[in-house]
């Protein structure tokens, strides 16, 4: 039962990263590729009707994590206190910059929100990457399964760690590159003309940086977290997850002239990378970097069996409904963005 919820939470988080990932990526690239006000409005319009729904995957994923693994929620959220609060501030800035930009037509107002949108999106990608790095590396959990991490210590991955060290910063850079490409492919998919061409170019250039970054984080992760080799050694079928990521990476390049396919390949790459990490850490959900026995696992972090069982009874129909709304919304706004029918 715990394992089912581990997979469900992993799916929720991966869906969040794929969906809000393109919003963040669009934010990162829009200053680069969209030069006129009209082009910027096109980029915003491509995510306008969906970004809020995409962010709901974070809220619903957080809620699911909360009730399925309360000890993990409590421990990780209080331990990563400072960066999480900064993530909240950045999410606030990102959200209002999308919503407020087009309210006032001014040469001061719009460029200001464009920069806030770009900056907050870029920092969020970096923070999420660093968070993933911290989970893979492990944190100094005490016997009560609690910890508190400073923003940085000596930037090493030894006993005394901070949120930022060379490894988590490497993952942060990789996340930034991944979401930049992902967002560029989304913009290319939703727009036309020069804007589309520029976005495609950013995606292609970015793709070349993904190759060394993917290799580097894979190698470093195995070096830092011994659990990963143990997992893949014990259950070699798990190699299907890294293979998905590789397939996505190759597909992005091979099908680069198509419209939708490269974006889907990028989504596949993200899902592959995240599930590879989740599979490699399992049964740990938050390992200790000091003593493996102190790590939080799906077993010692899970809620009581009754709650997990009734949870399934409402979660599955609820998510089927939610997926239905998503398919419907995305179909309603399918195709290239047109600025003819402006919203309110």
């Amino acid at each position: 039962m715990e394992t089912i919820w581990f997979m469900l939470v992993a799916v929720m988080i991966a869906t969040y990263v794929v969906l809000d990932g393109f919003d963040l990526g669009a934010g990162i690239v829009h200053l680069l590729v969209a030069r006129t006000d009209r082009e910027r409005r096109q980029v915003l319009r491509s995510i306008g009707p969906v970004w809020d729904g995409n962010e709901v995957w974070l809220i619903a994923g957080g809620g699911t994590l909360y009730f399925a693994f309360p000890a993990l929620y409590a421990s990780s959220f209080s331990g990563f206190y400072l960066p999480l609060m900064m993530v909240l501030w950045l999410l606030i800035l990102r959200g209002i910059s999308i919503e407020f930009r087009n309210h006032i037509d001014s040469l001061v107002w719009k460029p200001f929100w464009d920069v806030v949108f770009g900056g907050a999106s870029a920092l969020l990608a970096i923070f999420f990457g660093a968070a993933l790095g911290n989970v893979v590396r492990g944190v100094p959990l005490d016997p009560a399964n609690e910890f508190f991490l400073p923003l940085w210590a000596n930037f090493g991955t030894g006993r005394e760690v901070g949120i930022l060290d060379w490894y988590t910063m490497l993952v942060a850079v990789a996340a930034f590159a991944t979401l930049t490409v992902h967002g560029a492919l989304w913009v290319a998919l939703k727009t036309d003309g020069e804007l589309e061409q520029r976005a495609r170019k950013v995606a292609l250039t970015g793709w070349w940086s993904l190759l060394p970054l993917t290799a580097a984080i894979t190698w470093c992760s195995f070096a830092i977290q011994p659990r990963l080799s143990a997992s893949y050694g014990a259950r070699p079928w798990g190699c299907v997850f890294p293979l998905l990521a590789v397939a996505g990476l190759i597909g992005m390049r091979a099908m680069r002239r198509r419209t939708v396919a490269p974006f889907l390949c990028s989504a596949l790459y993200i899902v592959g990378m995240l599930t590879s990490a989740a599979f490699g850490l399992y049964p740990y959900v938050l390992p200790s970097n000091l003593d493996p026995a102190l790590g939080l696992t799906v077993h010692n972090a899970a809620a009581a069996p009754y709650g997990l069982k009734v949870g399934l009874a409402w979660f599955i129909p609820g998510m089927v409904l939610a997926t239905g709304y998503f398919v419907y919304t995305y179909r309603s706004f399918a195709g290239k963005v047109s600025l003819e029918e402006e919203g309110h």
Binding site: G48, P49, V50, D52, G53, E55, V56, L58, I59, A60, G61, G62, G63, T64, Y66, F67, P70, A71, Y73, A74, S75, S76, F77, S78, G79, Y81, L82, L84, M85, L88, W89, L91, I92, G95, I96, E99, F100, H103, I104, F148, A303, A304, Y306, G307, V310, G311, W314, F315, G318, L321, A322, Y325, F326, Y328, T329, S332, F333, E341, G343, H344
Partner: protein, 439 residues
């Protein structure tokens, strides 16, 4: 300040600011459905334009509600880790259900409601608006269910290490506390929405702009407001008061400023509680009314604070007393204002009565104060418990988040929210200034 105080202020500040926005959107969602229904039934473009105007106001409030709402969910983990660890298996259920059942619904159909009017056609657009309403009211349900469990925990057993285990899902959703609190809260949101709509309408009539819209807004706002303000008092306020009387008797005593138990207890209209001397200064009371309201008998015994050990008293009695009295006082004034406006509307004279329109316009901020005071009553009244009778507030805090770190982020939120408040007022002012005739 110690860490506990800062963590409490952190949540109190962020949730108070957050709830400015959902109380309007939940109330307005219902009124938007009313406007869309009128548009559908009359086929008159006037009501569609009216709905579009309020949808623009709604969208600004909704965005503010979303961005200030995410920190609420996160803070359970960041600032209240021990509480989350013990109780997450229970209240995580309702919080996750809010995400799964209401936020997906609300956000998907709000996107369609705001951006897809042409594509959806009149009936489809009405349905999108209705689903936004349904999503926002479901969201209110799950949040109030979470709070109701903290006020009156049900459906749980205690594990070997004192952890709180869910034992009955239906008990959690059918908590006897929940029904009245939910209805009282949602109707409070309708009061805010109705006053806002009536106030904007009154403004247009007073400045003689967009007057057809002004009349529609005043009419819808006053009719909804007249009904909602009465429902606030009875049955929902009465029901919620009985919840407190039966399940949190020390809280009732503190709210009423009743220090000594009394047969035929009086209802204090005004007065200032002096906790050290255990008396109410400068009281103005209705004799025996508290006994009657609580037990329907003029001579019923009502337990005062002296009937309970001081370690079960709410830890901020003056705050609780004043917030409760502000809520009830404002609620009473709202009934009077809306009843008068509804009477004049019925007699067909309201739109020409400038003094009454002034009153409606200037009333708009007060439902926000009333709703906020109501929530302070509920949450200060829950003290000294985080989960009533089960976990005291200091036991729930994150032990490793220091006072300094918590103060840093509290100051950060204060700065951020000050900027948000200014932007919000600016943008709402501009929408009202543009008026319903634009676009």
């Amino acid at each position: 300040m110690d860490a506990l105080t800062i963590h409490r202020l952190h949540f109190a500040f962020t949730v108070t600011f957050h709830y400015i926005f959902p109380q309007l959107t939940m109330g307005l969602a219902l009124l938007l459905v009313v406007l869309k229904t009128m548009a559908l039934r009359t086929g008159n473009e006037h009501y569609d334009r009216a709905a579009r105007f309020w949808a623009r106001i709604f969208a600004i409030n909704f965005a503010m509600g979303v961005v200030t709402g995410i920190p609420m969910e996160f803070q359970f983990g960041t600032n209240w880790a021990r509480f989350s660890k013990s109780a997450g298996g229970v209240i995580g259920q309702t919080l996750a259900m809010e995400g799964v059942f209401s936020f997906f619904l609300e956000s998907s159909f709000l996107g369609l409601f705001l951006f897809g009017e042409k594509k959806l056609g009149p009936k489809g657009h009405w349905l999108a608006g209705f689903l936004v309403f349904l999503g926002s009211w479901l969201s209110g349900f799950f949040i109030v269910a979470t709070d109701a469990w903290m006020q009156h925990p049900v459906g749980y057993t205690l594990g070997p290490h004192g952890e709180i285990l869910l034992s009955s899902f239906w008990a959690l959703l059918l908590n006897p506390w929940l029904l009245w609190q939910y209805l009282h809260n949602m109707i409070g949101a309708v009061v805010t929405g109705a006053f806002a709509m009536a106030a904007v309408g009154a403004f247009y009539l007073l400045v003689k702009r967009a007057e057809p819209y002004g009349r529609t807004f005043v009419r819808v706002g006053v009719i909804a407001g007249a009904a909602a303000t009465v429902l606030m008092l009875f049955p929902t306020g009465d029901g919620q008061g009985k919840n407190i009387a039966f399940h949190q008797p020390p809280t009732l005593a503190a709210m009423e400023g009743l220090f000594e138990s009394e047969a035929g207890a009086p209802l204090a209209l005004i007065g200032q509680p002096d906790v050290d001397k255990r008396q109410l200064d400068n009281p103005l009371v209705i004799p025996r009314a508290l006994s009657f309201l609580t037990y329907q008998r003029w001579h019923a015994d009502v337990r005062g604070l002296n009937a309970f050990p001081p370690d079960r008293w709410p830890d901020n009695i003056p705050l609780l007393y004043f917030s409760y009295h502000i809520m009830v006082g404002l609620g009473t004034i709202f009934i009077a204002v809306m009843a008068l406006a509804a009477l004049e509307l019925w007699r067909g004279r309201l739109f020409a009565q400038r003094k009454l329109l002034w009153l409606l316009m200037l009333s708009a901020p007060f439902p926000y104060i009333g709703n906020t005071a109501g929530w302070i009553t509920a949450e200060a009244g829950r003290q000294p418990w985080l989960i009533y009778g089960l976990m005291r507030t200091p036991e729930g805090v994150s032990p490793h988040v220091s006072a300094g770190n918590a103060l840093f982020t509290l100051i950060g939120f204060m700065g951020m929210y000050a900027v948000l408040a200014i932007l919000f007022l600016l943008l709402v002012y501009r929408e009202i200034d543009h008026g319903p005739e634009a676009a």
